[in-house]
């Protein structure tokens, strides 16, 4: 079976004019070229769920834009579902669904139902199959009460459920997700991750996701491509990456009195503030609940926050590790 996505030596360089000081220099700006993506190669099989991760400016979004057809590369080749994205953008649009976590594709003042209806005509969908698909998604995503509500009155989590529904209504076989859980609370994030994973599994859908949240990657994707400075640093199964790099949590304890001091394996203290103790926990050695239980037993705890390490740190670890070997 041919891959859903095949990329060979794909590159994108942006060129912009940098103004120099002085009157005459303003008429002869210096041109600067930035290589956002520098010759990446990869293949994604049909039904695979793959995450592209990397720090800001690593080239994730640029890659996603080229693969969805809204950006022409400087060099290289790509085939997405048998089409060249930037040459066959409209034909590809019928086959892919795209969700931008920070941009809405719905019409804010209108009820979601009307937006969905317009999308039916935009994607030339027959009424019967469309209604069935909308019915399924409505039931699966619990949208029944939201369909007649104007989108701008929805919470971010509710809106994102509608955004994902909108991207699936034409039955795409490939889903691009750019930061789909950004800004959502824990419950909404969990609902969206579960939905994406189960929907893709049930429909044999290929998923390509970018995110800053390591939980999105762990819970949705079975393979991770790490990019940095436009190049692929690591391309391996999520399980393998999790074992090596994603097994850490950052726990912050707020206390009125003395700081928290624990002697547990895999727990290290990070630079902390007067009434906040920040601990880094290697969850392979000690579970989060053990750390919290121990801290509570110590007394004086007023608040607890559990976070993943920032993506930049994870990438730095991966980068350091791959360059050390």
């Amino acid at each position: 079976m041919s891959p859903a996505i095949s990329v060979k030596n794909l590159s994108k360089a942006y060129r912009y004019a940098r103004r120099r000081g002085g009157f005459f220099e303003a008429f002869s700006p210096e041109h600067v070229t930035i290589e956002a993506v520098a010759g990446v190669d990869f293949e994604i099989g049909v039904g695979e769920r793959v995450a592209i991760i990397g720090p800001n400016g690593a080239g994730k979004s640029t890659t996603l834009k080229m693969l969805s057809g809204i950006l022409e590369p400087s060099a290289g080749e790509a085939s997405v579902l048998g089409l060249t994205p930037w040459k066959q953008r409209k034909a590809l649009a019928y086959k892919i669904g795209v969700v931008f976590g920070q941009r809405s594709q719905l019409w804010g003042e209108l009820p979601a139902r009307e937006s969905f209806n317009l999308l039916r005509h935009i994607y030339d969908q027959e009424a019967g199959p469309f209604a069935r698909r909308l019915g399924d998604l409505t039931e699966r995503f619990g949208l029944a009460d939201l369909l007649d509500q104007p989108v701008h009155r929805m919470s971010l989590g509710q809106r994102m459920r509608c955004e994902i529904t909108a991207s699936l209504l034409h039955g795409p076989s490939l889903l691009f997700l750019d930061e789909p859980t950004i800004g959502l609370d824990v419950t909404a994030k969990a609902a969206i991750r579960d939905f994406i994973r189960e929907h893709a599994r049930d429909h044999g859908q290929t998923v390509l996701l970018t995110s800053h949240d390591t939980r999105d990657i762990e819970l949705v994707c079975d393979r991770v491509i790490v990019v940095n400075q436009g190049r692929i640093v690591v391309d391996q199964p999520t399980d393998q990456l999790r074992r090596r790099f994603l097994g850490r949590k950052i726990i912050t304890f707020q206390s009125a009195g003395h700081g928290v001091s624990l002697d547990l394996p895999g727990v290290t203290r990070r630079p902390s503030e007067a009434h906040a103790t920040i601990l880094e926990v290697d969850t392979r050695l000690t579970r989060v609940e053990q750390v919290i239980a121990a801290a509570l037993a110590d007394g004086g705890i007023e608040d607890v926050t559990i976070e993943d390490p920032p993506m930049e740190e994870v990438i730095a670890d991966i980068y350091a590790s791959t360059h050390a070997t």
Binding site: K12, I96, I122
Partner: protein, 265 residues
Amino acid sequence: MRRDLTAAVVALRIGVSQGLSGWTVLAGRCLFYLLIMTVLSALWDKVAAERVAGAIPLPAGDLVLYVLVTEWITLALPAVHLRFEDDIRSGGLEPHLLRPKAYLLQSLAQSLGGTLVRLAALGVTALAWLAATGRPGLEAAAYLYLAVLGVLAVTVGMLLYAVAGLCAFWARRILPFQLVIQKLMFLLGGLFAPISLYPDWLRKFGEATPFAAHLYWAGVQALQPSGTLFLRAVAWQGLWILLLSLLCVALWRAGLAKVLREGGV
């Protein structure tokens, strides 16, 4: 093509829904229309009543009715230029480019939908104002002519503003383009007074511009309703709708090529 047009009709219907859902804003626009007409009718009634010897002769007919028509069209216009500027400069264009239907046609159809709602609401307001002030209305035929010319006029105006909005692909701000178009609508379109008041050479020039197609040719029906003038107006408006549409498509294609190449503006 047929499916593109079907999608555009649905977008137009969405525009109508949006126009109706924002009824409070629409009501505010109608009240503003009443305020403007109160001021302008007082001015033109005074000018008509106290003619100055040696002044430019006023055209036949009631100039208040002329202004009633031009303001009806002006107040119905959509802010399509601001929408284009926002989408182009904020990256909001991207979700639209990922769809198989043309953003330009969809957006214009949607804007036209809202415009038709405003045109209808302001039309009813104009009739109510005429009835409330006891001013003699238009000839029966003029209402029919204006129903057609009004729709064509707002289409011309919307396309003029669309041209300004599409300049956002190259200009940091479209405000200067917007101001130029507004001023030319005022001067060459004859917003407050018909361009027949101008010297002959300027009148002839003005009549051939898209700004007259936007305002003057509809307004003149309020002064002297005539089938011949109606047909001439439709011809000018049709010509400018065609030319401006072609210009919008050319700008869109050039701008889109830039975005696809450079990834933004």
